[in-house]
């Protein structure tokens, strides 16, 4: 139940990215700073206008302090919740409530990572994280995470519903086809089903193509009240709803491996947005692994449980298919700097503004974004965005 009406009251007014793909020699904060600068310019705002901050970092506990200092701001609203890659979507509702209460007037949501090219590399960071935050009832059995946990989820889905490796491969192929239309995407070389299916296995049933990219990159976006948004530089994109669900941490404690928290967050998001599935023009879901897209489409209600494999078959979510999903190429082919939530949001805004040239969905007025967090679909956050005519 919502005691405070938030539907359409807040808009995304500026977006920016920096260093997507490889940004050698750049620090996380430098990349985050450049994305922030791009979002400010896009909105026509100054850094002094930012009095709300939402941010998180995979490795650093008090990251909002690092960012506050780096950007030279003194926010009156800070949201540093870290529930994994979905955080940068889950930050929206707290930000909406803060804006509506008058606690702040312009919220910056921002993220940056140099995980691909950093000299203090992925392996060292991963070891450090495991040492600080062990999973004591899983670590002894050496799951290669996150791939192994999602592989266990995929294997169970295949067992229960007859989902096939070809279905998974269709997700990877669709992502690549969208990426080929996106100049910002990291992986744009041609790909086919045969190559995906015969590629090197990582953790069965996943090959390297079932797993998201490891890239650098930063993303930032700015939110204000809708009434203020109309005076700014770009066409505002309104947030109809944002709902979050958090269910567990480890795959061992995920009750049913085929049902994700999106089942709950999606249902609440649709109800609050007061629109139905047929009215959604474009979908951006966090595709950490190919199974994520299938699970999201099922749990969000675009198809029935167990029918996600068939739903994505034969290029159905690729360019020209029945439902455009992950039009930037997603985490699988566009960009995945550890945590992807901000990038799903940014692509949805670009589509609704009509800024996507070759990959533009004609006349897109509504978009659904769905974040995924943790090593086993632990947290998920769903938002529905729209243009002014839908309000």
């Amino acid at each position: 139940m919502n005691h405070i009406e938030t539907r359409g009251k807040v808009a995304i007014v500026g977006i920016g990215t920096a260093g997507c793909g490889e940004a050698p020699g750049m620090s996380e904060l430098e990349l985050l700073g450049l994305a922030t600068k791009a979002a400010l310019e896009d909105a026509g705002l100054e850094i002094k206008d930012i009095d709300g901050l939402c941010t998180a970092n995979l490795n650093i506990a008090m990251w909002p302090l690092n960012v506050t200092e780096y950007l030279g701001i003194r926010p009156t609203f800070v949201e540093g919740t870290n529930i994994g890659g979905s955080s940068f979507i889950a930050h929206q509702k707290p930000a909406m409530l803060a804006l509506l209460s008058g606690q702040c007037s312009a919220v910056l949501v921002c993220y940056g990572s140099n995980q691909r090219t950093s000299k203090f590399g992925r392996k060292e960071r991963s070891l450090a994280r495991n040492s600080l935050d062990p999973s004591i009832f899983e670590d002894p059995y050496r799951p290669f995470d996150p791939p192994s946990s999602y592989a266990l989820i995929a294997a169970r889905h295949m067992h229960e519903y007859g989902t096939t490796r070809k279905h998974l491969a269709e997700v990877a192929l669709a992502a690549r086809k969208w990426a080929q239309l996106n100049p910002e995407a990291f992986c744009r070389e041609p790909l086919d089903l045969e190559t995906i299916l015969s590629a090197r296995m990582i953790s069965d049933p996943f090959t390297i193509y079932d797993c998201c990219q490891v890239t650098d990159g930063a993303g930032a976006y700015i939110m204000t009240l809708s009434e203020k948004a109309k005076d700014l530089k770009k066409k505002p994109i309104f947030i109809l709803s944002n709902e979050t669900a958090v269910w567990h941490r480890s795959v061992t404690n995920m009750k049913d491996l085929t049902v994700t928290p999106s089942k709950d967050s999606g249902q609440r998001a649709f109800r609050a947005a007061k629109i139905n599935h047929k009215e959604i023009d474009v979908v951006q879901v966090y595709d950490a692994f190919t199974i994520n897209t299938i699970l999201a489409l099922e749990d969000l209600g675009f198809c029935k449980k167990g029918e996600g494999g068939e739903f994505v078959d034969d290029g159905a979510i690729a360019p020209g298919g029945r439902l455009p999903v992950n039009t930037n190429g997603g985490g699988l082919s566009c960009v995945h700097p550890n945590m992807y939530g901000a990038f799903a949001t940014i692509e949805a805004v670009r589509q609704l503004r009509g800024e996507c040239s070759d990959r533009q969905i004609v006349n897109a007025k509504t978009a659904l974004i769905n974040g995924n967090g943790g090593t086993s679909a632990s947290s998920q956050s769903t938002s529905i965005l729209c243009t002014e005519e839908i309000l």
Binding site: I136, F137, P140, S148, L152, D204, T252
Partner: protein, 141 residues
Amino acid sequence: MIFKNVKFSILMNHQISTSIGPTEYHHQAIESGKFLIQKCNDCFTNQFFPRSFCITCTGTSLGWEEACGRGIVYSTTTVRRKIDAGGDYNVCLVDLEEGVRLMGNVIDIEPNDVYIGQIVHLKIETINGLKKVVFKSVPTK
């Protein structure tokens, strides 16, 4: 309430207020060759992993039940590793007969031969001088 498969022992009345917490208690039991599952003395629900209270009824009177060892593979994957890095190995989730799920490795067959629905047996073995929880496809001693 009938206690099926419960082996009451001195372990049964371990209370949270004692000098070590339930996580450490569970690990110490593995060292002595027992795999213990927490059982709530109030609502009789089993829970794994061990916690400082029962997540079903919030009771803090928690005892222990020794696992009988039989379980069914709920899901499975083969982690791929080069031969010189130790080769491929199995990682699976197993539903134990006591109604709890845990992660493990089936070690006595090829990793790809492990299948969902397979009956497996929990053992505590000494490997390289360390006590380790493993699963086997046949009930060896």
